[in-house]
Amino acid sequence: MNRKIFGASFVLASAASAAVIVAVILIFMITIMIGGWDHLTWEFITAAPEEGMTAGGIFPAIVGTVLLVLLMSLAGVPIGTITAVYLSEYANRNSIFTKMIRFAVNTLAGVPAIVFGLFGVGFFIQFVGGGMDSFLSGTGEVHWRQGNILWASLTMALLTLPVVIVSVEEALRSVPGDYREGSLALGATKFQTIVKIVLPNAYTGILTGTILAVGRGAGEVAPILFTGAAYYLPHLPSSLSDQFMQLGYHLYIMATQSPDVEATLSIQYATAFVLLVLTFLLNFAAIILRSRLRARAR
């Protein structure tokens, strides 16, 4: 009798846990939605902030975010795809080189975002930027040796590299071996086979990886805290050495450092809402793509 009760309560507890998590997610989303709903107008999305952030919109933050993820993808997706091609098509499972790369990818995935930010400062800003400045101007004038959208997006590209690599590799592996064999038997070279047969059939995975990376890039704030994000800029970034506004960063500063928190509260909610919706759409798209990929692999 005792055992039955224990068993039943165990099952109940596990169901309750799952329910709790789902409930929290729902409450979370609903709270943010309610808080920001009335502020969510077309002007909000297309206008710039005014009156010390107590009015106006978040357009420049949206633009900054978009530019950031664009540059980030430009840098990260090709490198990630090529690495995935290596791991899937060329790597010999027992070679030391392969093990090194796999270890590096796994490690990269576990590095805290803030450490990437430090790397951005120590390497991109100080080392590369400093080098560029002394090489290009030599007068100690500081141009590249500070936070800007270039360094920030490169830092983010490194952060999201593992995501791209894993997604693309999964897609490459799902291309049936039959296709490769057929192509090789016809006398195509390995490279031709990869470029003409394997990669075109893996574009779903490349897309998934890019979308997941973009999702992270749009939401992650820690690495850009000191590599280029700013709270208020008079104009949009027009060159790689400009600073930029970003949705997450904007929310953070507004919520913790704005002088009149009450007045900006609904804007904060609305910004959070925009971020959530963005994330939701991106993840949703990635899930759909991934299930299409899995279905095709059968």
Binding site: N92, Y179, E181, G182, A185, L186, A188, K196
Partner: protein
């Protein structure tokens, strides 16, 4: 009239997967412009052997090969042989048809295109010619843009044959080409093989003895990685020299 000449000669061929030996001391002569069938129970090395002829076994880890395979006077396992070129001279049809997820036209044109052929008119002609030789032209000529995967199993296999023919090989290797097909499609494939041997040297692996008897000129009986007997098909099936051969062809085992 062509003389009986040797196209392929395997000499003292041994193949190891790691420590396991899959092919033992294979000595086999495959004559040109004839159909040679390889028969035997499952797992006895027929497919492994046929894949040594176009060095597709190179793709598997841990494979070691001793001996030689001489094609047109050259040992293809010699150092320095360009495998990619070798495979252009030899076409392979797989057990499970594997057309690319492209259109019928692009499937057949793939081979010529990777060889650098871009002229659309010539490509059109090659595609048509190959599809004709594979006895499928009439069935697909109205819609070459249709995906290769939209065809029936038998048609897909013939498409793969057309694709292989487009590269204009001299040798065709067929690894149980009809084993996944229904009897009617199988009959079509067999008829096709009969026609193709006019222009190509064909080696076919089959576990269907009646098929071997119908289609081939020469037959080799494989058992446990060795060739037990090799002779004209007629003789293998009516008066085999080895007891094991006789047991197999009469259905006593396998």
């Amino acid at each position: 009239m062509r003389m009986q000449s040797t196209k392929i000669k395997a000499e003292n061929l041994n193949l190891f997967y790691g420590d396991k030996q899959a092919l033992r001391n294979i000595n086999l002569v495959i004559p040109a412009y004839k159909v040679t069938a390889l028969i035997g129970p499952s797992g006895c090395g027929k497919s492994t052997f046929i894949r040594t002829l176009n060095r597709m076994n190179d793709l598997i880890d841990n494979v070691r090969i001793e001996g030689s395979v001489v094609i047109d006077g050259t040992d293809i396992y010699k150092k320095g042989i360009d495998v990619v070129e070798l495979r252009k001279k030899i076409g392979m049809i797989f057990q499970k048809s594997n057309p690319f997820p492209k259109s019928i036209y692009d499937n057949v044109a793939y081979g010529p295109r990777i060889n650098g052929l871009r002229d659309k008119k010539v490509l059109d002609q090659i595609v048509e010619q190959s599809l004709r030789h594979a006895a499928i032209w009439d069935e697909v000529k109205d819609d070459l843009k249709k995906s290769g995967l939209a065809l029936s199993g038998g048609q897909q296999q013939r498409l793969c044959i057309a694709r292989a023919l487009a590269v204009q090989p001299e040798i065709l290797l067929m690894d149980e080409p009809a084993s996944a097909l229904d009897p009617i499609a199988t009959a079509k494939i067999e008829e096709l093989i009969y026609e193709l041997k006019e222009n190509y040297t064909i080696v076919i692996v089959t576990h269907n003895m009646q098929q071997a008897a119908r289609v081939s000129d020469f037959t080799a009986f494989f058992y446990l990685g060795e060739i037990i007997e090799y002779d004209e098909t007629k003789r293998i099936f009516t008066t085999p020299k080895e007891k094991r051969t006789e047991d197999y062809v009469t259905g006593r085992f396998g």
